[in-house]
């Protein structure tokens, strides 16, 4: 649990945009885990946890939207809302690093990136968690990395920083 609580919470925050809600989601995920047969999960644990966490986060998110239903017009006009305070703070903290740049990517790319590089899931596992095809996952990660590379190159300090770190 110590190992997964943090990464799961970060992941859930991508969907809920709210730390406390994300914590609730993760707590629910673990409680649900208690009811699973551990032998059956065994090697699928990471995939299982992120899948349950994601579905739960989406449920909560949907519920929240139901409380204040939006008309379709409103929905479309709000396709790219202001980043939440949590995201903005995260950006300030890591403004010069790849993670800071990541906050500008579309949410589904961020999800895929987190699953892949924070949690070491394979494309196939990510496709199951996010309910996409493997090809879709490949495309999301590819596009995300491309965007990150371009941004890093356009900001010399980031590139320099990166060079220092990778050597």
């Amino acid at each position: 649990m110590d190992r997964y609580a943090g990464p799961l919470t970060k992941y859930a925050m991508l969907i809920t945009d709210d730390l406390e809600v994300a914590r609730d989601v993760v707590q629910d995920t673990f409680i649900r885990l208690c009811d699973e047969n551990p032998v059956r999960l065994d090697s699928h644990l990471a995939q299982w946890l992120f899948t349950v966490c994601r579905n739960r986060a989406l449920d909560v998110q949907r519920k929240e939207q139901r409380m204040k239903p939006l008309s379709d017009v409103e929905m479309n006009s709000q396709a790219s809302p202001e980043p939440s305070p949590a995201i903005q703070a995260e950006r300030r903290e890591a403004a010069t690093e790849a993670l800071g740049l990541m906050a500008d990517l579309p949410k589904n790319q961020q999800e895929a990136i987190r699953l892949k590089f924070q949690n070491g899931l394979s494309y196939l596992e990510i496709s199951k968690v996010m309910n996409l095809t493997v090809t879709n996952v490949g495309f999301l990660i590819h596009t995300a990395i491309k965007a990150l590379r371009q941004q890093m190159q356009s900001k010399p300090d980031v590139a320099a920083n990166r060079m220092r770190r990778t050597t």
Binding site: P69, Q118, N136, R149
Partner: protein
């Protein structure tokens, strides 16, 4: 074939995701191109950089109390599986090209089904709904965070009168307490399941009002024109000698079995793969069998199932053709994935086609809560359910064998569908819901029942509603007939308890500064009868009505000691105290499991149904687990 540097396959290769032929193909191409090799290196570098930064990223932790709660439950599970293998986990199956294609196509179909719902869900507009905020603060409080305790009793003119669950409130600042009734009992059966499995329930699974309402109480039958009677009893508070408890009891009119109106029932049954365990589909079959056995030729039953596909398994069939209904039930088998959205549409369509004017028209949804809404978003689903409820087809939701966490969805569905929500863990519970309280389950006698209590500051220095956290209404909602509230079924009892601090007893409310511009609220305005403790007001609608009726009773202050209280009063207080101890409520006072057992035993009475005896057994189990 030459690969483009902008091909996702190159990224996949750089990240070590390609196998077999594709892998070889890229390798061959790389040999001939420096540009490609640089590309791959760059991609791998970004990946490494990301991994490194993620590893250094500060991570949020769960709240400490939540960690403990989860850990205690998780520890046994952990020991049986190997920790080390989790992290360095690769997908263990070698996927053959054919198998891979199959998986691809399945995933593609699923994705196509899910995408519209997903994109809707994800076009996020961050809005804090009052209810969610309430929930969050409730959670925060339950797991021991003090952060928003101080927001308690502002003179709050919008949203809810009080933001947190159940703080003590001063009648000078919040004279009105408004909530919707709740006849659900799911939380009690769920708590029972946890205790019977040898675990303490998570605190959030304990909804005290559902615990209290699980038990029938001997309230009188209504004798006037109203469909329910109201009983109020005030006596000493068992967990705080200085305080008092007011018990509000509603009793719905009983309807004799032979007077039950003709019923048009549609069973909507989840037969997805997850329903296979004994406490799910097999229990559903046995439970519904109990219900079918009581039906007569006036009634009709149809069965709709949903899984990957949904279908009408049994067209509307008269209640006297029991064999036909039962054998259709028996043939049901679990398998396939869930698409609840389509099934529910079909169930409602069936119910509408067979609509009985003046009768009971009801869809009974039986599921483990994995209610995958498929092509329909939950928002649309709720609108459908509300719409049909207006048209006279109500929804009842029965949860079977599920983990607790889906129950908020199910409760919400039933709530919107003018229905009730039960959790059926055993055949005994099925007997209670479908046989003993069948009429209550099927026949709604009043809908949108709301309670508003006004406390007299001359008599009360503070009050606290026990439970009903997610049923609180704004004081304005009481008179607003458009605001949905709970339903009461034939013979149902609904009980609510208030803990009251009598005037003159010191009560340190986290107060606000005296207000400058209000008529001085500290000096109660004279003129109202000072002997009254409070006034209880109820609003309800007839099941097919649109406008509400008001019932109002003043309640005199009493000096009844706890010892003189009725057995029902003692028992309800014991159940409330049990809930507070399970939730480790800051308001539990001197209550302990031992004290609960004692109170419960005093209030047990004759207990013909055996429910109260079972409760006392659960208290013992909880106490043993607490050590």
């Amino acid at each position: 074939m030459n690969i483009n540097p902008d091909d996702p396959k190159l990224t996949a290769y750089a990240l070590g995701e390609l196998r077999g032929k594709e892998h070889e193909e890229i390798e061959r191409q790389l040999e001939g191109s420096d540009q490609m090799r640089r590309e791959v290196e760059e991609i791998a570098n970004v990946g490494a950089q990301l991994s490194k930064e993620f590893a250094a990223e500060p991570l949020p932790e769960l709240n400490y109390a939540a960690q403990l709660a989860v850990k205690a439950k998780l520890e046994p599970a952990l020991s049986t599986t190997e920790r080390a293998s989790w992290w360095s986990f690769r997908f263990p199956i070698r996927v053959t090209p054919l198998g891979f294609l199959v998986i691809l196509s399945i995933v593609a179909i699923l994705a196509a089904m899910m995408l519209p719902a997903l994109s809707r869900a994800k076009s996020k507009a961050r809005r804090i709904s009052t209810q969610d905020e309430q929930r969050t603060s409730m959670m925060a409080k339950l797991i021991g965070s003090d952060s928003d305790r101080n927001r308690t009793s502002d003179l709050n003119t919008e949203a809810y009168d009080h933001i947190e669950d159940n703080p003590f409130l001063s009648p000078a600042q919040n004279p009105l307490s408004t909530f919707s009734i709740d006849v659900d009992t799911a939380s009690y059966s769920n708590v029972r399941r946890f205790l019977n499995e040898g675990r303490l329930p998570p605190k959030d699974a304990v909804r005290i009002e559902e615990l209290i309402n699980y038990f029938p109480y001997a309230y009188p039958q209504p004798t006037d024109e109203h469909p329910f009677s109201v009983t109020v009893e005030v006596a000493g508070c068992p967990w705080n000698a200085e305080h008092r408890v007011a018990r509000l009891g509603l009793k719905g009119k009983e309807i004799a079995a032979e007077k039950r109106p003709p019923s048009n029932l549609v069973f909507l049954i989840d037969v997805s793969g997850s329903m296979m365990p004994d406490n799910k589909l097999p229990l559903i079959k046995r439970a519904l069998r109990l219900l079918v056995e009581q039906l007569t030729e006036k009634d009709s039953v149809a069965i709709v199932v949903y899984a990957g596909n949904s279908g009408l398994v049994l067209p509307p069939t008269s209640g006297d053709q029991k064999q036909k209904i039962l054998s259709a039930l028996d043939r049901l088998e679990a398998g396939g994935s869930t698409n609840g959205g389509e099934g529910i549409g079909q169930a409602y369509a069936t119910a509408m086609r067979n609509f009985i004017q003046g009768g009971v028209n009801r869809v009974l949804l039986c599921t483990d809560g994995d209610f995958n809404v498929g092509v329909t978003s939950q928002g649309e689903l709720i609108r459908l359910i509300q719409d049909k409820a207006k048209g006279g087809v109500f929804l009842s939701v029965f949860g079977f064998g599920m983990g607790n966490y889906k129950d908020s969805t199910l409760e919400k569905l039933a709530d919107k569908g003018n229905g009730n929500y039960g959790y059926i863990d055993t055949l005994n519970e099925a007997r209670k819901v479908f046989v003993e309280q069948m009429n209550g389950t099927l026949i709604t006698i009043a809908k949108d029942v709301k309670i508003q209590v006004e406390f007299n500051p001359n008599q009360v220095s503070a009050y606290r509603l026990i439970g009903y956290e997610n049923r609180l209404l704004r004081k304005e909602d009481f008179n607003d007939d458009k605001k949905d509230a709970g339903e009461i079924g034939a013979g149902h009892t609904v009980t609510a308890l208030y803990e009251i601090v009598p005037s003159g007893k010191a009560m340190n409310l986290p107060g606000v500064d005296p207000l400058k511009y209000q008529p001085n609220p500290q000096v109660p305005v004279g003129g109202h009868p000072s002997g009254e403790l409070m006034t209880v007001k109820l609003r309800y609608k007839q099941p097919d009505g649109d406008s509400s009726q008001l019932v109002e009773f003043p309640i005199a202050a009493s000096q009844t000691a706890y010892a003189q209280a009725s057995g029902d009063f003692k028992f309800a207080a014991a159940v409330a105290a049990f809930g507070m101890v399970l939730r480790e409520s800051p308001y539990k006072g001197t209550a302990t499991f031992d004290a609960v057992a004692e109170l419960g035993a005093e209030g047990r009475g004759s207990d013909a149904s055996g429910y109260r005896t079972e409760f006392l057994k659960l208290v013992k189990e909880a106490k043993a687990l607490k050590r």
